[in-house]
C-alpha cells in the first residue's frame, strides 16, 4: 500500500466509523506503544497509517492497516491523536475474536468505543501536541535476512543475560547471520545459517544496538511472524513484518550505537 502520510497540514479527521476485531486492534496498538505513549493516526479511504519515533529519536515505527482488515471502515480522511496506553487498556477489555466498534464524535472530539455492551468514551489528544512524525530515511542496506520472530526473541533473550548492547551482523563469506553480546565477564554468540533462516541475501554487515530498544520491538513481533531484517555496517536495522493476515504491516527502524569499544 502506498504511503499517504503527508508532510504536515493534515486536517483533523471529522468522520471515522469502524468495526475491527480486538486481536487486530491490539496488535496494531502494541506495535506502536512499544516506542511511544501517544501517536497520530492518519485515516484514509485505504486504511490507517501510524508513524512515530521514540522521544530520543532512536527507534521508529511505520505501520499501516488496510481498510480490508476491518469488518467495516468509513472515514472522510484526516488525523486523530490518541493516548495509546489508554486505548490499549480499553482494547484489552475485549476477548480475542470480539469486535470493537470505534466511532469519532466530531462535536466533542472524543472516540466512542463499544465492546459488546461496554461503552467507553476516550478523549482525543490535539495532534499538534504530539511529537512530530519522522521522515523515513532512505537506506540502502546490504544484507537482508528473513528470520522467524521466535529466533529474534531467542537472540534478544540470550544477549540480555550478559549485556545491555547487542551486535547484529551478517558474515557474507560464510553466509551466516550472527548475534554478539559482550558482558563485563561473560559473552554470548549466536549463529544462524541458511538452514535456520527463511532467507538470506549476503552482504557484510555489523552494527551495535541498544538492547532496551530491541527488547521493546521484540515484544511486538509475533513469534511466528516472518521478519525481514535489513542490516548494514554501522547502520540502522530495519525489521519488517505483516500482521492481520497480511493486511497490516509494521516496519521498525533502529539507529545503531557507535562501536567505540
Amino acid at each position: 500500500m502506498a504511503s499517504f502520510l503527508m508532510d504536515g497540514g493534515v486536517a483533523v479527521a471529522k468522520m471515522f466509523n469502524a468495526i475491527v476485531s480486538a486481536d487486530t486492534l491490539q496488535a496494531t496498538l502494541d506495535s506502536v506503544s512499544v516506542l511511544v505513549d501517544e501517536c497520530k493516526i492518519h485515516l484514509n479511504d485505504e486504511g490507517l497509517e501510524i508513524r512515530a519515533v521514540d522521544p530520543a529519536n532512536v527507534g521508529m515505527v511505520d505501520l499501516t492497516l488496510e481498510a480490508a482488515a476491518f469488518e467495516s471502515y468509513e472515514t472522510d480522511g484526516g488525523l486523530i491523536g490518541v493516548n495509546l496506553s489508554r486505548l490499549e487498556d480499553i482494547a484489552g477489555m475485549a476477548d480475542a475474536g470480539q469486535l470493537v466498534h470505534l466511532e469519532l464524535d466530531e462535536e466533542t472530539r472524543k472516540l466512542h468505543i463499544a465492546i459488546d455492551g461496554l461503552e467507553y468514551t476516550l478523549a482525543l489528544i490535539d495532534p499538534d501536541s504530539i511529537r512530530q512524525e519522522p521522515d523515513l530515511p532512505d537506506l540502502d542496506l546490504a544484507a537482508h535476512v528473513v528470520i522467524e520472530g521466535k529466533d529474534i526473541d531467542r537472540s534478544v533473550t540470550a544477549a540480555d543475560m550478559v549485556s545491555d548492547h547487542i551486535a547484529l551482523g551478517v558474515d557474507a563469506t560464510d553466509e551466516l547471520f550472527y548475534v554478539d553480546a559482550e558482558g563485563d565477564t561473560d559473552d554470548v554468540h549466536l549463529e544462524l545459517d541458511r538452514e535456520d533462516l527463511i532467507d538470506l541475501t549476503p552482504g557484510d554487515a555489523h552494527s551495535l544496538f541498544s538492547l532496551d530498544y530491541l527488547q521493546n520491538m521484540n515484544k511486538a513481533i509475533p513469534k511466528d511472524a516472518e521478519v525481514r531484517m535489513e542490516l548494514g555496517d554501522e547502520f540502522p536495522v530495519k525489521m519488517h513484518f505483516d500482521f492481520a493476515e497480511g493486511q497490516g504491516s509494521v516496519t521498525y527502524m533502529l539507529a545503531p550505537r557507535i562501536q567505540s569499544e
Binding site: D54, V58, S85, D89, D135, L139, H165, M253
Partner: protein, 553 residues
Amino acid sequence: MEFAEFAATAAEIEGESADIATIELVAGLLADAGDDLPICTRLVQGRVFPAYEATKLDIGPKLCYEALARAAGRNVAVDDIEARVADVGEIGAVATELDLGGQQGLAAFGAGSQSPLTVAEVADELAAIASASGSGSRGTKVETLFGLFNRASDAEARYLARIVLSEMRIGVGEGTVRDAIAAAFDAPVDAVERALQVTNDYGNVARVARDEGADGLADLELTIGRPVKAMLAQAGTVTEALEDWETAAVEWKYDGARVQVHDDGETVRLFSRNMEDVTEPLPEVVSAVEDAVDGPAILDGEVVAVDGDGDPLPFQEVLRRFRRKHDVARASETVGVRLHAFDCLHADGRDLLDAPLVDRQDALDAVLGDADAVRSTFWLADDTERIEDIADEALAAGHEGIMLKDPDSTYSPGKRGKHWRKRKPDVETLDLVVTGAQWGEGRRATYLGTFELSARTDDGYAPVGNVATGITDEQLATLTELLEPHVTRETGQRVEIEPAVVFEVGYEEIQTSSTYDSGYALRFPRFVEVRSDKAVADGDTLERVERLAARQG
C-alpha cells in the same frame, strides 16, 4: 542559544568566586540570550519553570540515573552511577565521565535534521517530561531524558544533569540574577527588584528590562491568580517594637499555614507559602472567601485547622489537609479549616504593596465588609501592658503568640525584615536572681560557672535552673569578679551566693520538674546579660514562671 554556549558560561560562573565578577558573567549570558532570555534567566538558577508556576520538574535521582545509564557506554548500570555519585558527591561531575552519546539518532541517517542542542530545546523537552502523566509516562520520561543526555557533550551533560535534579549549585542566587538583569540592560536595581516582587517571574522581568526599560518595569503589576512571595517576620520583643515604632500594630499569631487568597471577582484561588495551588484541598476557605470578599482582591492570611468546637488544632493538621487530594469532603468533616486574613495586597484594581500597613488594613476592611469570619484581629497599641493583655488573650484562645508590625511599613514580598516581628512566649526572657554557682574545671578553675538561677517567691527564692551556656571566657571573669564578694558558703566546688545579681536568661521552654523545689525547670537556659539596672526585688517571680509555663499549653 546553543546549550553548549550556556554550559560554557555556567562553567565560567562556577569557577568564579567573586560576587561582582559572577554578576558580570550572568549579565553577559543574559545580554547574549536573544529570544532565549527568559529561559536563560531560569536555567542559570537551575530552574526550568517560572517560580510562580505550579509545574514542577519532579525528576527523581533514580530516573535521572536510569537515563544516564542508557546514554552511557556499554554495561553501565543504574547502580554504577549511584555508586559514583556517592563517591564524587555530585551528579554533574559523574555525568561528564560517563562517555555519553554512544547511541546514534535516526537523524544521522536522514530521519529529521541533526542539530546541536539548544537551550530552547532543553527547556521544551524538560517541560514535556514534566507534563507526561499516566501509565507508561515513566518510560517516556526516561527516554526523553536519555535523548537529551545522548546528544550532550561532557560539558553540557554536567549542567544538564544538575538542572534535571535541581542541583545547579554554580553560586547564582536570586539576588545575583536580579543584579545581572540590572547590569545587562542598564536598569535600576530597585526597579528590577520591585518588578520581581510583583511578578515573581525572572524571565519576564529580564525581557521587560531589555525591551522596555525602567518604565516598562514600573508598569509591571500584581496579577490576580499569580502568587507572590509572602512577607516574613523575624523574632522580636514588645520592648524593642515600642522603642522602634512607639505604636505597634498587634495581631494574634496563628499556628497555621500561610495562604495567599486570589479572588478575581469570580474565581477564588488559594496558594501556599511555596506558591503551590491549594485551592482544592481547602473548599471551606474558598466558600468563606466567596461569601466575604467583594473582589477582585489579593489577601494574605493564615489558615488554621480547627476541631468540631472551632478550637485551633496544631499546625500539622493544616499540612495534612494541604496534602489531601482525595476525599476532601470527608477530611473537612473531621478537621475544619478557618482563614484569618490579615493583609491586603490588592483591592479594587489597585496594588497596595507600597501602601502603609494601616492603609492596607482599611482596604482589608473595605474588601471584607463586616465579614468578621475571615478577618484576623488587629489593634494599634503603644503600651506594654495592653500588648501583654492581647498576648494573653491570644494564648488563652489557643494561638501561638502575637505579631508586632510597624504600622507605617509597606509590604515587601519575600523579605524577612524588622517591620514584622513575631513574639512567641519562648522569645520572652526571664530576669532571675543568681543564688549559687560552681567553680569551674581545668582552665576555668579560677572562674565561677554554672550559675543557679532563682525566681522570687513570697518568702524568698526558688531555683528554676542552672545556666552554663552562652557565656564567653571574658564574661566568666567579669561575672566571677561581680559575684565572688557575695559568696556565703563553699562546699567543694559548689558555692552559695546571696541574692544580689540579676541575670537575663533565655530558654526553650519551661518544664514542670521535681529537680527543683520550685516545681519548674528551664529547658536549655542560656545567659543573655547581667541586668545591672535591676535590683533583686525587680527579678521575675515564680508566679510569672508559672504563667509562662501555662501559656505553653
